[in-house]
Symmetry: D2
Subunit: 287 residues, 4 copies
């Protein structure tokens, strides 16, 4: 089915009376048909959040002018932070990997089968072993080894590469390097990581070992946007699986891998569907 | 905390441009502050559903006139089916039970602790054994034994009792009698049942025996509004728990009881929070 | 159904060849019929754990002599730590509560309906408000107010009371006081607490506030044996429920209460069913 | 890590005293070290089931003679149905697919990364479009179109192919053809299917449409061994995911795909780990 071209606007602003009316009137009066509307108000800080998707067929404002008109007629009045996304644009996603392949395979299977509207211009790795997976899917693979000494230089190379390829967002598919603050600032809320624990439990290294040691009865995985604080960025999705005393660490790793790949892929899907807003280190998910 | 008095309006009507604006404008212009808004459009039949809650403090229209004004100014124009609920009204819930007590205990604990804004004017049963539980909570208990011969007469007695007590809705807390079509028609979408299976699997009698026999790996419970078709009414909530080959039928019953009481209580909470709309034998849950 | 009287033996010892044979032979040769057997070997420390339940009907060794004979014939040889439990014994459980009633109601409903083979000789509280719940169920309620100044003295009073009543184990049903090391040592692995988070995330006070602040997408509850380290004892069971950005703290508390009471009651059931062994601050659950 | 070579024996027989002793003695006395033991007794039919894994290093009986000795010394005495599996053998798994690729990608990713000890000698399909996926992983792809007229003949071709390749078991990875009774009988309890519903709800075609129509709040997927009755064979594993009224059929399909692939892969893992026994159309899972 050929989906109609849509516009999606994501808004946040101080809560005031009449915002919903103003936005929906703007769309209706310009002959747009609202396909989906979801809103949320943070009751503590009185911040208003909204996602509206509408059909652009027959919309009176030319696509190229929507931004300007919306800014002038609506956004300014309500002091909105906002973004508009057109469903016709295919975002560019860079994959960062190290040695583990399960998340990479999961992403490439979805990409290849056309489940996601996304381009993957590059796979970046600090190890060589997943080159053959990239080759199998004919995606450029860039190996940039990283040592404490070369880290700054290699991050600069990574950033240049991402800029050259006009990458929109980055997915750390079990990439086992900590990104510098400088790198992260270049892609705020646009780097998605998967951490193999139920955050905030067991941040950092070897969470399955810690989970086993603590004797938890459920393990989890968490996808989040990367911020300067390790494994402390806004959580996009989490999921869990029940374990028992019988499960030694290799079993936790085996069960956890299934969680990791699914939770990471769900986060990517939410991101490219423009269903995520970040506020105060938390996410609003318009699902 | 003393919650402000709220009005909640539940709406369904053919989808048209401008409905959201019309409703939110109506509230805003009359000085109402929207506390919660959720909407849904059935994309197949193009039916629009909305739940809006607003603070009545400072609302310009007197509470007693809201219905009339809303009907005239908004509802008529959009051909709405609608209902307004005031948070100040305490709904009256009748409990129907048979011999099993776990759902009854769960409901009474919540009621007694003040978790729910609801009155329980009566517990009706076709068995005597739960009289002592009702006594413990000082709630009138009416025993009406039912045999094939007395069923019609006793249902008439039940209906008269419910009418006298001005009961708003009925909860079948593991009530082991099938209600007649006549009875059900008196309380459309206002009789909540808990069925001890993951519907539509295992409707009717002895679902845990059937689940064991079929060798399922997960069992469930389903709360639904009662319709004339047995266990086929609109589902409000469901939940599941994992089982294994080790679990014989008594274990399924034991594990299932926890599901049943939680799923039933969640349905009651959704119902009294006015978060449920029914359309085409399905529920829209504004959660 | 009148269950046959059973004996349950819980064993831990260094792993050696032939243990299972030795124990099952002991039972078989004395005309005992094994009803359930579950074993586990910790592969790191090579420790063997086993739970065996057998029917005592026709068992050749008189019930009163089983301990002595088993110790001499089996346990000594394999250097076992072990315990034998007879299904005829009804354990005595003391409940400690503060102001919140949901776990208490859940426990009392199960107790009253006969779901658990347990006695509740006393409810102890540092507040008076749940007296009326205890009265409703005709269970002695002992109010012992606790201030920093009176804590040591009151704990001594609690311990004396528990001893006088021959209490076997204690359940902290949202008891909001931290027990002293001295108190805990009197009931090692026999004090069950419910913590309202997914441990080890959010130990200590106000976990729902922390969960909301961190923006997690799933909240949990954990039952565990109390040790000197706060919320760090061996976990018996955990469970979780999905939340969203829409759920403010009162919603987390409301949803969490259902988790807490179910997870605590599951832990109590496992404990009185003699299905829990503790090793290295972890539990082995013979489920 | 080079795992020691293990033997795994799966046993079922009428329950009798002394079976566990007999088997564990057999292993211990021949210098085998038991790595894992799990047993179950069906209490209704008094059937005993056991899985024992032991280290073959130092085992006194030569590997090639184990079967014969075990049969003579143990199995005959207890009238056992039994099978022995050596961890050194790599089972051959044939994949049957149609047009949907998500399960296929999931299986091939695990296979390629070495997560499973299994060979895939062939992918069979009644459609051509997944040829390119097979090529990507360099696995022989056999296209056998099926019409009502050619079905019998093509099944004969499939069976011959499977026999020539010495295939041990078959995985239907969303293969959209119903196998004939004749075909199924050739691989009893060795054909694993994934059905995209929570069985026994919604067997047969278009379960997501049925689920949407029924208004369920949770959807599921079920892996099972194929028997002559459609979607009614022994269930190996099931899992579920929560949905809402917002999720139209394409969303159910999207969410369901993640369930399907994970539940199918878990079943395959259990099968190749020799952790499944079938009795009375139910599975015993030694997990």
């Amino acid at each position: 089915m050929n989906k109609p071209q849509q516009a999606i606007v994501l808004i946040s602003c101080p809560d005031q009376r009449g915002i919903i009316s103003a936005v929906t009137d703007f769309i209706s009066e310009n002959n747009g048909n609202i396909l989906d509307l979801d809103e949320h108000v943070d009751p503590t800080d009185r911040i208003f959040f909204m996602r509206v998707a509408w059909d652009l067929k027959g919309f009176k404002i030319p696509t190229n002018d929507i931004k300007e008109v919306f800014q002038k007629e609506i956004a300014m009045k309500y002091v909105m932070s906002w973004n508009i996304h057109l469903s016709s644009y295919v975002p560019k996603m860079a994959l960062f990997v190290s040695k583990l392949s399960h998340c990479l395979y999961d992403i490439l299977g979805r990409y290849q089968s056309g489940d996601w509207k996304v381009d993957i211009p590059v796979i970046v790795s600090n190890h060589e072993n997943l080159q053959e997976v990239a080759d199998r899917y004919e995606i450029p693979f860039v190996y940039l080894s990283i040592t404490p000494e070369t880290k700054i230089k290699q991050e600069a190379n990574q950033l240049k590469l991402l800029k050259d390829l006009q990458v929109d967002f980055i997915v750390l598919a079990r990439y086992m390097q900590i990104l510098s603050a400088n790198f992260i600032e270049s892609y705020p809320n646009r780097i998605i990581n998967i951490h193999h624990s139920f955050l905030p439990a067991f941040p950092g290294a070897r969470p399955y070992h810690s989970a086993h040691n603590r004797g938890v009865k459920i393990i989890g995985a968490s996808s989040h946007y990367v911020t300067e604080d390790l494994d402390a960025g806004p959580i996009i999705d989490q999921d869990v699986v029940r374990i028992s005393h019988k499960n030694e660490i290799p079993e936790l790793i085996r069960k956890g891998k299934d969680l990791e790949k699914i939770v990471l892929s769900r986060a990517i899907y939410l991101h490219i569907s423009r269903k995520v807003l970040v506020y105060q280190n938390r996410t609003i998910i318009f699902d």
